[in-house]
Amino acid sequence: MSEEEHDHHHTILGFDAYNFNFAVLMIFTAIEVVAVALTFSMKGTVSMSTVIWILVVVGVVKGFGISAVFMHLRGDPDSRVLTATALFPVFFIVVMILFIGMTHPESADSLPAWCRPGFYD
């Protein structure tokens, strides 16, 4: 890729992509901290579910900003294949979260006897 092409695709809305992304990340981090701080200083007025939604949205925006711009998963010639590479473990992560993370710690107690510790026949 030539220097000119490189410079061209590293802009967002006419601003330098790194600078723009940094500004967005700082703003969203401030929103994140203030949202939680409000639950402390304005007890009862901001519900925890509202805060969690704010945190999820902020997390998605920050995660996208870091991976797409700072880690070059957007706009580079190899971005697509590397994004697919990075997402490969997601399948296993989803399986792990759904079938282990979201189950009850005592759920193993309800498994059939042959599936529980101590059954070695």
Binding site: A37, M71, I100
Partner: protein, 363 residues
């Protein structure tokens, strides 16, 4: 070690030479494995007579030391090989699907994939226990909390809410408890450090400035990253062990006790969970205290944030080398991708914090 041109694989001394792939990472892997194995053998704790007993087995310390020696030998070899890398040769992948991409870059992404699995395991553990164990506060509100209850008391109870004395928790800024400030500063520190890394990369690629100016600027950006990482770990220690207090006890200017001082430890099987019903002049005059077991919440917090902290420390070790190389004029537009590849790791560490901070500190 010297690197030939990609289209010129001829070596004066040995005829055709192969790309100088480094075997140092294999040494690093073996060294760290031996070190961790030794660590688990040397420092043990066992549950005896209703109490934890700790032991240090000095006879096994040779495993730890050998592991460290192999690890540092690996680092030295790795750095020695990288020191002379001027970017004139960069091994490219030939096969699909990574055809034409730097092998180093692909290897780094493979490494990050394994790292994703490590942190996902920690997050899954966190989710499983957080959703599975009853929340201490919810139990107290429902009137089901009794002495000996095993319940979940998140770190955010101490950090974002100010602990049991939250009604009178000190807030120097007015709108957030002082205990949240170290974590909040750390979050900004990591974001800024991610930015300084990309600035270092951008500057290293810049062909319009002189070599001396480039070296100086890249060095400064990398040094700033190192300082922010140091700040991160210092605040981590303050938050875990040290605490930070300013002013007198009667008139505090800033009051952020450590998690250790608050009793949030991995051995907190009898944590004094306190509910205050009536406050008078910042003193609780009517309270209930239950001894509850909060070890699971503390363990998942310390293991996850500690693993993240170890990754920050690993990045700092690499940064010490990179800062030195940068000030010696080691980074040029030809080998600037080395900064990009370290940056991938560093941004990943930042990305993990994007999840860790809200999950463990805020909710």
């Amino acid at each position: 070690m010297s690197y030939g041109k990609q289209d010129d694989h001829h070596d004066e001394h040995h005829g055709w030479h192969t790309p100088h792939n480094s075997w140092a990472p294999i040494l690093l892997a073996f060294g760290s494995s031996f070190f961790l194995l030794g660590f688990a053998k040397v420092f043990t704790q066992t549950w005896e007579n209703d109490a934890w007993s700790y032991a240090i087995h000095t006879g096994e310390i040779w495993v730890m030391i050998s592991g460290l020696a192999v690890f540092f030998a690996g680092i030295m070899i790795f750095w020695q090989q990288d020191w002379e890398h001027d970017g004139s040769y960069e091994l490219k992948s030939l096969g699909a699907p990574f055809q034409g991409i730097d092998v180093r870059k692909i290897a780094l992404w493979m490494f990050l994939m394994s790292e994703m699995m490590v942190f996902s395991t920690l997050f899954t553990t966190y989710m499983r226990y957080r959703t599975g164990l009853p929340n201490c506060t919810a139990m107290a509100e429902a009137g089901t909390l009794v002495d000996g209850s095993v319940c979940w008391l998140p770190a955010s109870y101490f950090i974002a809410e100010g602990g049991w004395h939250q009604e009178t928790a000190h807030a120097a800024l007015g709108f957030m408890p002082d205990t949240l400030i170290p974590g909040a500063i750390n979050t900004f520190a990591l974001i800024i450090s991610s930015y300084t890394i990309v600035l270092a990369l951008k500057t290293a690629k810049d062909t319009r400035i002189s070599e001396a100016e480039r070296s100086r600027k890249v060095g400064i950006y990398l040094l700033t990253t190192l300082m922010l990482a140091t700040l991160f770990l210092i605040f981590k220690m303050v938050e875990w062990f040290v605490g930070f207090e300013l002013g007198s006890e009667e008139h505090p200017i800033f009051y952020s006790p450590s998690l250790l001082a608050d009793g949030f430890t991995i051995h907190a099987s009898e944590y004094d969970y306190t509910i205050c019903h009536v406050w008078e002049n910042h003193e609780c005059v009517d309270k209930e205290v239950y001894q509850v077991d909060i070890r699971m919440a503390a363990s998942t917090f310390y293991v996850t944030t500690g693993t993240h902290g170890v990754h920050v420390f690993g990045g700092m070790v690499a940064l010490v080398y990179m800062v030195t190389k940068a000030f010696m004029g080691g980074y040029t537009p030809a080998n600037a991708v080395s900064i990009e590849y370290f940056g991938l790791y560093w941004h990943f560490v930042d990305l993990v914090w994007v999840l860790v901070f809200p999950a463990f500190y805020l909710i």
